[in-house]
Every structure is written in structure tokens, then in C-alpha cells.
């Protein structure tokens, strides 16, 4: 029999339905892999083994009774940004190192209702601020493809846990590339849906106009399955969009003949590693063979997305993170002399350096006298970038380009310079600013390290993106590669 951890969610679901193995056996299998591999990778902060086995036993009953959903009995990991009732929820921060969430995030609740098993909570950059998983208070996550390299971030633990086959899938969140970049750096399929497609309720907020939850999986088919179970209207998130969720699995096989693919001129210009660019061009040849047409398009304002993001995101972060005051939950400093001292030291000691940098940047750009020059200016340029995308989607169906300028870099290589670190997200931030759905899928290797292909679509075009990704995965084997030592 094929090893259980070689199977995709879709394949595991077939096995569960046919009773070839039980959810308890499946859960046990992944828990033992976690026990074996997690100490070296540091991908999970919390392992919820006992609860997982109980939930798996219930899922087995449900499978036997015929009341199962397509996801019933499948184990996954949640990024530790999602509140999980009764379970430690840290957001990768010392600030929340004592926080037992008193309720479930909507994403967690929906997947649990569907019968999904939670194996544990994945490590991440502190409050999702980082592109390498090195800002976590719980320490860096190692990339299973090379333990000296970062797995990307901020959903670095979510990526490593799936890449090492310690779980067949995981949830992530993406504010500026935090699902797509780690997916690219670990050879996974990652999707960030349209803003408002998945509820943000119970997902600890970083930048509320950019944050969106999605998935890291072994295939586009799995992403279609899992996203379908997560997405949909939630009255508890005031930005949740009230629109029906299509069956994303139904359109995966549609032919791509006549598909118009836009090549972003700006993406193939400066900053892109040459060999990395060649792999992207090779992938485009696969699409041409499938009947797609390539059209070069230009988004002149796109190069401004990094500076725009580093005004908008810190501004929203400074506001969102003001709730951490050392009073109602989270870390509190020792022996505060007065209330101001309690606030300042609880926050000063509870937050790490990158989080403090962003809070201060945000505080500055929102402060009296600077609001117009920075924040309002950035909101205007955000509109120009969004308009560029809208124009492009008048001409093409999807945009395709690289996900990340380089493959995984060395742990510690970029921690001294925040700007260098910020430029890792140069290709991914645009989709967040414009609220667009975007994916990363594996498209090859450079020096043994995975490279990702990014696909961006118009608002609510998740089904098209998944179709475009799935057809490529029918023609290629990149997404089936497993890092050495984890077979």
C-alpha cells in the first residue's frame, strides 16, 4: 500500500470513504510523523494529539453512518493565528504565550463542523509580520528541503508541516504574500482568496483591509476542496462578502484553450533571479501547449506596491495591536508602578522587534501632521495599483509570473535589513492591495530548492485560478516532489 502521507486530501478522502483506513489510523499516522520530524523543523507550536484522536473517532462514526462531508476525517494543521477554543493560540508572540482562546475562529469552526481533525497549531512570524518565519518568539522554522534555509513566512510553519508530510494540508493567512511565498519556497500549492471570501472572525488581525485566510496543500484539487469548506458569508465579519460559494472542484478540468494569460512586464524586470525567471517561462510554454495565449501587459504603478504596503499595513497594525494592553489577556510585565508603566512595559516586553518597528511606523504615519503625507497618499496610490489590475483584467483572464524573487534563503541572511526582507514580497503584495485572489504552485527547482509560479485573477475568480493551476498539475510532476528524508 502507498504510504498514507504520500496521498493528497482528495485521495485520502476516497480511502476514508472506502474504509481502506480509518480516520483514527490516519490521524495516528500523522501524529507519529509529527513526533518524529517536528523537533528538528519547529513547524508546530502546539500539538493537539489527544483531541485529534477523539475527533477522529467521531469522524469514523460519521463516515460509517453516511453523514460525512467530503472533508470528514481528514487531519490538518491550523496556523496559530486562528483562535481555537480551549487551545493555546499564540500568534507566534510572547504577548500571547499564555492565551487560551475562548472561542473558535469561523475558519476553524467550519472545518470542524465538516469533520476535519486539527493536529496542531503551526508556527508563524510574530503576528504574521515577516517573510521568513524568523520573527516568531517560538524560534525559526526550518525548511524541509534544506534545514539551513527559511521556509518563507509568515505562514512558515503551515508550509513546513505540509512539505514534511506531517499533515496533508494546513490553513494560512496572507496579508502581503504570507501564504504564496512560503508555498513557493516549500513546493506547495497555496491560495489567497479574494478579500472577503473567507471570514476573518477569530483570525488575529494584523492589517484588516489586507488580511485573508487560505490554504496550503499538495495540489490545486485539494485547495479547491478545502477552500470550499472554509469560504462563505459570515455575519460576524463585517467585511465578509455575501455571495454564494461555487463548487470549486467542479470546474477543475475545464480546457484552457483560448485562455488569455497576461505576463506582467514589471514582474520580469528588475529583481528577478535569471534562472528563476527561466522556470517561470518554461511553465508558460506548458500553458501555450494547452492552448492558452500569452499577452504582455504593463501595470505601471505596480512597482509602488512595496512602499504603499509599508504605509497601509503598519498603520492598520498599529491600530489593531493597541488591544494588547496587558490588562484583559496576554502578557503583563512584572510590578508595574502605574497604569502607563503597565501598558508600556507589557507591550515593550511582550512584542518582538519587527512588530514594534511596524507599530511605530504605523503610529508615525497616522500621527498629526503626517497623516496626509503618508497614509492618505498611500491610500491614493493603492487605488492607482488596483485600477492598473482592473485594466489588465479587461484584456486577460489571469496574470502569471513569479511568486518570489529567489528560492529559499539562508536562515539569518536577511534579518539585519528590514528593507531587503520586505522586498521578498515584491510580486505578491499587489494582489493584497487590490483584494484579488492569487495562488502559488510549484514550477521547478533551482539548486535543489523549490520555485513557485504565481497566478493572479480578478475578484472572485478562485474557480478559474484553481482550474488554471490544476491543468498545469495534470501536465507536470513538480507538485508531487517530496523533500529527501521525508518520503
Amino acid at each position: 500500500m502507498t504510504e498514507l502521507h504520500h496521498l493528497t486530501l482528495a485521495e485520502l478522502a476516497v480511502g476514508l470513504k472506502a474504509r481502506r483506513f480509518s480516520s483514527v489510523e490516519l490521524t495516528q499516522h500523522f501524529l507519529s510523523r509529527i513526533e518524529r520530524f517536528n523537533p528538528a523543523l519547529n513547524a508546530l507550536i502546539t500539538v493537539t494529539g489527544e483531541q485529534a484522536l477523539q475527533a477522529a473517532a467521531k469522524a469514523d462514526q460519521r463516515l460509517a453512518s453516511g453523514a460525512a462531508t467530503p472533508m470528514t476525517g481528514l487531519p490538518i494543521a491550523h496556523k496559530d493565528i486562528f483562535c481555537t477554543d480551549g487551545v493555546l493560540t499564540t500568534c507566534g508572540s510572547k504577548m500571547l504565550s499564555n492565551f487560551i482562546a475562548p472561542y473558535d475562529a469561523t475558519v476553524v469552526d467550519r472545518l470542524s463542523q465538516a469533520g476535519v481533525i486539527t493536529l496542531g497549531k503551526a508556527n508563524m512570524d510574530e503576528f504574521a509580520m515577516g517573510s521568513s518565519n524568523e520573527t516568531s518568539w517560538y524560534g525559526p522554522v526550518k525548511n524541509p528541503w534544506d534545514l539551513t534555509k527559511v521556509p518563507g513566512g509568515s505562514s512558515g510553519g503551515s508550509a513546513a508541516v505540509v512539505a514534511a508530510r506531517m499533515a496533508p494540508a494546513s490553513t494560512g493567512t496572507d496579508t502581503g504574500g504570507s501564504i504564496r511565498q512560503p508555498a513557493a519556497l516549500t513546493s506547495l500549492t497555496g491560495i489567497k482568496p479574494t478579500y472577503g471570501r473567507v471570514s476573518r472572525y477569530g483570525m488575529i488581525a494584523f492589517a484588516s483591509s489586507l488580511d485573508q485566510a487560505g490554504t496550503l496543500t499538495l495540489s490545486a484539487e485539494d485547495a479547491a476542496m478545502m477552500l470550499g469548506a472554509m469560504a462563505g458569508f459570515d455575519p460576524r465579519d463585517s467585511t465578509s462578502v455575501d455571495a454564494p460559494v461555487p463548487d470549486y472542484t467542479a470546474s477543475l478540468d475545464q480546457p484552457l484553450a483560448g485562455l488569455k494569460i497576461g505576463l506582467l512586464k514589471e514582474f520580469f524586470e528588475k529583481g528577478l533571479d535569471e534562472a528563476n525567471g527561466k522556470l517561470v517561462r518554461d511553465a508558460l510554454k506548458v500553458y501555450e501547449a494547452l492552448g492558452a495565449k500569452l499577452v504582455e501587459v504593463s501595470l505601471p504603478n505596480l512597482p509602488l506596491s512595496v512602499p504603499t504596503y509599508y504605509v497601509v499595513a503598519p498603520a492598520e497594525c498599529s491600530s489593531n495591536l493597541s488591544r494588547f494592553d496587558g490588562v484583559r489577556f496576554g502578557y503583563r510585565c512584572e510590578k508595574p508602578v502605574d497604569l502607563l508603566d503597565l501598558y508600556k512595559r507589557s507591550r515593550g516586553e511582550g512584542f518582538g522587534a519587527e512588530v514594534k518597528r511596524r507599530i511605530m511606523t504605523g503610529t508615525y504615519v497616522l500621527s498629526a501632521g503626517y497623516y496626509d503625507a503618508y497614509y492618505l497618499k498611500a491610500q491614493k496610490i493603492r487605488r492607482l495599483i488596483a485600477d492598473d489590475f482592473e485594466r489588465a483584467f479587461g484584456e486577460v483572464d489571469v496574470l502569471i509570473g513569479p511568486t518570489s524573487p529567489t528560492p529559499a534563503f539562508d536562515i539569518g541572511a536577511q534579518t539585519d535589513d528590514p528593507i531587503t526582507m520586505y522586498l521578498n514580497d515584491i510580486y505578491t503584495i499587489g494582489a493584497n492591495l487590490a483584494g484579488l485572489p492569487a495562488m502559488s504552485i510549484p514550477c521547478g527547482f533551482l539548486g535543489g530548492l523549490p520555485v513557485g509560479l504565481q497566478i493572479i485573477g480578478p475578484h472572485f475568480a478562485e474557480a478559474k485560478l484553481l482550474n488554471v493551476a490544476h491543468r498545469y498539475q495534470q501536465e507536470t510532476q513538480w507538485h508531487k516532489q517530496i523533500p529527501a528524508g521525508y518520503e
Binding site: F329, G330, R332, R347, R357, Y364, Q379, I381, L384, A386
Partner: protein, 96 residues
């Protein structure tokens, strides 16, 4: 734009963050670098551009009636606080 040490002290105070003496030079340097990077935006004429507050066109944030929809869970929520007494959150004395 380069920030001075005094600027950073002021920002840290507004943000209610205690920054140690040892950390201060690094924040002055890195925050200045971030603001310098952001200055690229100044080159763009945005005089006729409407600022964008919501990523989806035509979407506004919903309002709801201010009605009680959840049961009282004070005890459960207060389990996460470091210091509570008789249902109250305790902080250092504010009023003499």
C-alpha cells in the same frame, strides 16, 4: 526623511511601547530607512485620485442592530487575564 532619537521616543510614547536605551539606536536607524523607502510615493501626482479605503469596489462595511446575541461568558474570558478579582480586571491604582 531621517528620524531623530527624540522623534522615536515620541512615537514610542504614543504607541505605548517601552524601548530600552540599548534598543534605541537600532530603531532610529531602521525606522528612518523604512520612511526613506516610503518616500518613493512622493514622486507620484495623486491630486485627482480618490483614496481607497476598501479593497472591493462598492463594498461598504455592514452595520447591525445593537442587540444582545451572545450569552454572558465573563468568567471564561477573564481566565485569560493575569489579575482579576470579583469579576473586575485589576490594574495599578489610577485615582488617589
Amino acid at each position: 526623511m531621517s528620524l531623530t532619537r527624540k522623534d522615536v521616543e515620541n512615537i514610542a510614547h504614543l504607541a505605548r511601547l517601552a524601548i530600552t536605551e540599548a534598543e534605541m539606536p537600532e530603531y532610529v536607524d531602521r525606522l528612518s530607512k523604512i520612511l526613506h523607502m516610503v518616500e518613493q510615493l512622493d514622486a507620484i501626482d495623486t491630486s485627482s485620485v480618490e483614496p481607497m479605503a476598501h479593497p472591493l469596489k462598492g463594498q461598504v462595511q455592514r452595520l447591525r442592530a445593537d442587540e444582545v446575541v451572545d450569552s454572558d461568558q465573563r468568567e471564561k474570558y477573564q481566565r485569560n487575564a493575569v489579575r482579576v478579582e470579583a469579576g473586575l480586571y485589576l490594574v495599578p491604582k489610577v485615582i488617589e
